[in-house]
């Protein structure tokens, strides 16, 4: 009986830790899905821009001894700018019907960002400051990381603000109009490129927050994080439903819990196998994801 209770506690703790960490996946997934919803295209440079923003924030901390809040703010702002630049260089001048070209351009953007980071840092991992990193609450047999609670809270706040912007502001209305039917939106006087630029910038802002939060949660920043975050972001986006923000949130938390659970019961060798199997199941049985509209033939 003791063993059973012990396992229940451990599994509960494992799932809870996974949910908290999954909030970073949710933020990354929201960025991917926002851009896909607006343009029907995937921005593969997204996570790279997020990590790059975190590096600039870290540089501010190292050279100017800036407070942590400023580090996070700088990370978000730089990623916002990078989101804008990625749109201008990888999407704006590529014909809208040419999805592959935009995808490959953004892949090139990811590699470029990665190489610049390696060049600047010699590939060395760097300590990243975190808020509440020493906070650890123990409730009976359970332990709760204060910094992960903060990350979770920031994730919720970011999502609420994003939803407010999308559904309660003219900018949000314009974004949704372009996502629905860009020609009709243009006929209504909405500037497509300006709207898409702002969408990419907003996604970049979310990415910067996600990048800084992830680095703070791990405590270390390294260019090796760009590709795994990109993959997790894509998995979350697909499972949540391409273009669905609530889907990305739920999927991010779910994937975080799911991978942690299988790490606990099956070990490191099989963890990613189960996550990819989950993705495969969704692609086969529910390709539209948890919340997106049903995909039908044209």
């Amino acid at each position: 009986m003791d063993d059973f209770l012990y396992e229940v506690v451990e599994i509960t703790q494992t799932i809870w830790d996974g949910v908290l960490f999954g909030s970073t996946y949710a933020l990354i997934g929201i960025g991917f899905t926002l851009i896909f919803g607006a343009m029907g295209k995937l921005n593969m440079a997204y996570a790279g821009a997020a990590i790059a923003g975190a590096y600039v924030g870290l540089a501010v901390s190292m050279f100017f001894d800036a407070p942590i809040i400023l580090v996070f703010a700088v990370s978000a702002l730089v990623s916002t700018l990078m989101g804008y630049i990625v749109y201008q260089t990888c999407f704006r001048f590529i014909p809208t019907h040419n999805h592959l070209a935009a995808l490959m351009a953004s892949v090139g953007g990811l590699f470029l960002i990665d190489e610049v980071i390696v060049l600047a840092t010699r590939g060395s991992p760097m300590n990243f400051p975190g808020l509440f990193e020493d906070a650890y609450f123990e409730l009976g047999p359970f332990g709760i990381r204060g910094d992960l609670l903060f990350v979770f809270f920031i994730g919720i706040v970011s999502t609420v603000v994003l939803l407010y912007v999308l559904f309660k502001t003219r900018l949000g209305m314009a974004t949704r109009a372009v996502a629905q039917q860009d020609v009709a939106a243009q006929l209504c006087g909405i500037n497509i490129h300006r709207t898409n630029s702002i969408t990419f910038s907003i996604a970049g802002l979310l990415g910067g927050i996600a990048g800084a939060m992830t680095a703070a949660a791990v405590g270390v920043l390294s260019p090796v994080m760009t590709v795994p975050l990109t993959i997790k972001g894509l998995i979350v986006t697909v499972i949540g439903g391409l273009g669905s923000i609530p889907g990305a949130i739920i999927a991010g938390l779910f994937v975080g819990a799911f991978e942690n659970f299988f790490l606990y019961i099956r070990g490191i060798d099989e963890r990613d196998m189960y996550v990819v199997a989950l993705l495969f199941i969704f692609l086969v049985f529910r390709p539209n994801g948890i919340f997106s509209k049903t995909i039908t033939r044209d």
Partner: protein, 424 residues
């Protein structure tokens, strides 16, 4: 008109001064080509090795260069440092290209142990075996540290410390230096050959050999002999291990915490070692002692987790404890790299190449290339001792391996400090 002439003259002078010496020098140059991981999770190792190699070559050239077979002095030239990305197929492709399309006398690098193993495997096994169509090019490795690789081929050589000896002596020393440490457990990244195999085949085995009690997942056949119970330990170990690029270590740290061991082994490269140690710190896991992987005795670990790594002890083949080591450390730092036990070997290898070339009387002409490579290989195999950065080292020509001095370093107040020199 006068001003224009002056401007043109000054420009020509600037251009002339910016041309590398080797481009002006009309005679043969001693060419070497390097490759290592310059992308991927271990990119810092390739970056550091390249910086060390190029710096050492610059020092050799500033002291006059290398004596060729005709008695002339020639500069050594690093004609390239390719990115093998810690991938076997990449490294093998670079090796084949280097052997067949360049006049490099030797290939230098490469980073990952699994890559070295595969790459050595395509070399000709025995020099005199004409039936073996393997690549005939000497390789001098500086980083791939997994035991026993150089004996794969007579063309393969390494300048790496012997981890079996290092950890054997380390745990023997810990026994006396830390008498209150009785039990141990640990974790490792499983997708990197060096760390995982070294952890299960060497580090754990040596700890058991010296009487420490393993309190990790049950491994009934675990014993003091290397490889005893290794498969069982590898299987058990995967339950609390991670991947090189992981960002979440909560599960593993909790398991380690539950085991409540006196000593925790963290056999992992800097990024994941730092991520794991930081998670241990968050979860209030406070063992009496931390022991790390040789490759993490580096500046990268301090950059990533100076505070969380406080107190970790690691055996290493490099520390700036001699005038030569301090000088090399300073030079390589200015060149954009860090010296550690791996990149310091790249520095030493440049001098080893110089010695072997001078012993072999290399001609350095295109028509003598293959004979030069063979002579170089023979000369390298004949070298039995060399002056290393922290002390003399010996070489075994029959295995292609080196026996290097080492020290134990510990993170003390955020810096690496040499706490014990077994050779003193």
């Amino acid at each position: 008109m006068k001003n224009l002439s002056k401007l043109i003259g000054a420009s020509l002078l600037l251009i002339a001064l910016s041309i590398p010496q080797s481009a002006i020098y009309a005679g043969p140059t001693l060419k070497v080509l390097g490759w290592g991981a310059k992308s991927g999770p271990l990119k810092s190792f390739g970056v550091n090795s390249e910086a060390a190699l190029r710096s050492a070559v610059a020092e050799i050239n500033s002291a006059g260069g290398v004596r060729m077979g005709d008695g002339s002095m020639a500069p050594m030239e690093v004609i390239g440092y390719e990115d093998s990305a810690c991938k076997k197929d990449e490294a093998i492709a670079i090796l084949r290209k280097t052997a067949s399309t360049t006049d490099a006398i030797v290939g230098m690098g490469t980073t990952c142990s699994g890559v070295c193993q595969a790459m050595f495997g395509v070399l000709q096994k025995k020099v005199e075996d004409t039936s073996d169509s393997g690549v005939q090019m000497p390789i001098l490795a500086d980083t791939c540290i997994r035991p026993g690789l150089a004996k794969i081929s007579e063309w393969s050589f390494r300048n790496v410390p012997n981890e079996i000896t290092m950890y054997d002596e380390l745990f023997k020393w810990i026994r006396t230096a830390y008498p209150n440490v009785k039990t141990f457990t640990g974790g490792s990244e499983t997708d990197q050959g060096h760390s995982f195999i070294t952890y299960t085949a060497i580090i754990v085995q040596m700890a058991v050999k010296h009487g420490f009690e393993w309190v990790g997942p049950a491994v009934p056949e675990l014993g003091p002999k290397v490889k005893q119970g290794m498969k069982e330990l590898q299987a058990a170990a995967k339950s609390q291990h991670w991947l090189m690029g992981d960002t979440n270590y909560t599960v593993q740290a909790r398991k380690i915490k539950k085991q409540n061991a006196d000593m925790v082994l963290v056999a992992s490269h800097p990024f994941s070692a730092c991520g794991f140690m930081k998670e241990m710190k968050r979860q209030r896991v406070k063992p009496k002692l931390l022991v790390g992987l040789t490759s993490s005795a580096s500046q990268e670990t301090l950059n990533g987790c100076m505070s969380a790594a406080e107190g970790i002890i690691i055996p290493t083949g490099f520390a700036p404890i001699t005038p030569e080591a301090k000088k090399a450390n300073s030079i390589v730092s200015k060149a954009g790299g860090f010296l550690d036990l791996h990149s310091s070997a790249a520095w030493e290898n440049a001098y080893l190449v110089k010695r072997a070339v001078e012993r072999a009387a290399i001609m350095g002409r295109p028509d003598t290339l293959q004979q030069d490579r063979r002579n170089f290989r023979n000369a390298l195999a004949s070298i039995s001792s060399q002056k290393g950065l922290i002390g003399p080292l010996t070489r075994d020509g029959s295995t292609g391996e080196a026996d290097k001095p080492y020290v134990y370093v510990q993170v003390v107040n955020g810096k690496w400090k040499v706490i014990h020199d077994p050779n003193s």
